[in-house]
Symmetry: C2
Subunit: 228 residues, 2 copies
């Protein structure tokens, strides 16, 4: 499985960083990990990602790859086995990319606004947007993979890896943003998906404690509202 | 070259839409075109892209593909010949994706703010950001393809197709946003790239008139500042 040295620069609770861990762990690739201090970034990170100065970065054989979905795509090309993430079929591949991108545009965006909301109006809007996004994911699962647990059918694919990191933030969304995740009667496919993702060994391995993530969400909130 | 029916729903001056035209035209794929009225979208568009209700959409054999970069990726998978856009090498592919994505995040974003600026401060900031983005593209060309005209070296690749649509907006940025494109002495690689892109037959074929785009930029501006 070795194809040279791989190193990940990231931050433990980053949804974007978790995508990289999940992809590498699903492939069984061993790698070095470097935790970044986001308020005092390492010289290595600044040199590896001079455009955005953001985690995650994968450094593979000395070459930096930036942007989480591009990194997951790269990982899938370099280590196609034993678990291919991007479908071969062009349409299925486009669908997987679409829902991965939806994670950034809609799920992450709404969750981020929820945690940082400074007024009840902002909080309510973000909460509604997050609920809408989760309903769309529930519908998409039913359309793309009816009766199956994952976007990828019986196993996780590119969309699953992109979206799975949001799961460990739900407790934070609840504690900090007052978001109530609708139950299985309202979002049956999403709940089935969450349970299926949580049962994957490679995912469990890299997922931080939900309580720790919720505490960190509180830290972000305090900074956002200027009380920290 | 035929692999079933292809139809593009788009809007003539959309940078995102132009990517789809450029990719199909570089491949020599024939397709039907449907111009959308963005203020009165067709039922077909709303059904094909229920999540975002946005152009461009490619409908291939009855199946809709949404989001311009995902569409270009799809086109490259379905019609890999005679002009492959995504490099086979995983690192080169990641680099091409990175700069395509940079187009959305930095070039489009700055240009959009420039046209819609309602204060001189906003206009100046957007203008500086756009200049910065173009400088980064100039540097990137020199790093990725030294001495070559395109991000793809001797021919256009995924990054070139993603970034080429910005070229026909420069006149609009200038007329509406007062943006002065730095000359070849300051951005030698970018100017070489612009000239090379403009000389590609498939690009010329689909590129709208610069004056018409500039007029349309004025329309957007008037709507943005509330005087239309």
């Amino acid at each position: 499985m070795s194809k040279g040295s791989a190193k990940v620069l990231s931050f433990w609770s980053s949804m974007f960083g978790l995508r990289v861990h999940y992809a590498l762990d699903l492939k069984g690739v061993s790698y070095e990990y470097q935790e970044e201090n986001l308020f005092n970034k390492s010289k290595e990170l600044l040199e590896a990602n001079p455009i955005y100065a953001k985690i995650p970065v994968l450094i593979h054989n000395g070459k930096p790859i930036c942007e989480s979905l591009i990194i997951v795509d790269y990982i899938d090309s370099v280590w196609p086995n034993p678990h291919k993430l991007l479908p071969e079929d062009p349409y299925k591949k486009a669908v997987a990319r679409f829902w991965a991108d939806f994670g950034d545009r809609k799920v992450y965006d709404a969750g981020s606004r929820l945690i940082r909301a400074t007024t009840e109006e902002e909080r309510k809007k973000a909460s509604e947007d997050l609920k809408w996004a989760l309903m769309k994911l529930d519908e998409a699962l039913d359309t793309i993979a009816p009766g199956k647990p994952f976007f990828g059918g019986d196993s996780m694919n590119f969309a699953d890896v992109a979206l799975a990191p949001f799961i460990c933030w739900f407790k934070g969304y609840q504690k900090v943003g007052g978001f109530v995740l609708p139950g299985p009667e309202e979002l049956p496919n999403l709940h089935k998906w969450v349970n299926a993702v949580k049962s994957v060994e490679a995912i469990r391995k890299s997922t931080p404690s939900l309580d720790k993530v919720a505490e960190f969400a509180e830290v972000i909130r305090k900074r956002a509202i200027g009380s920290a």
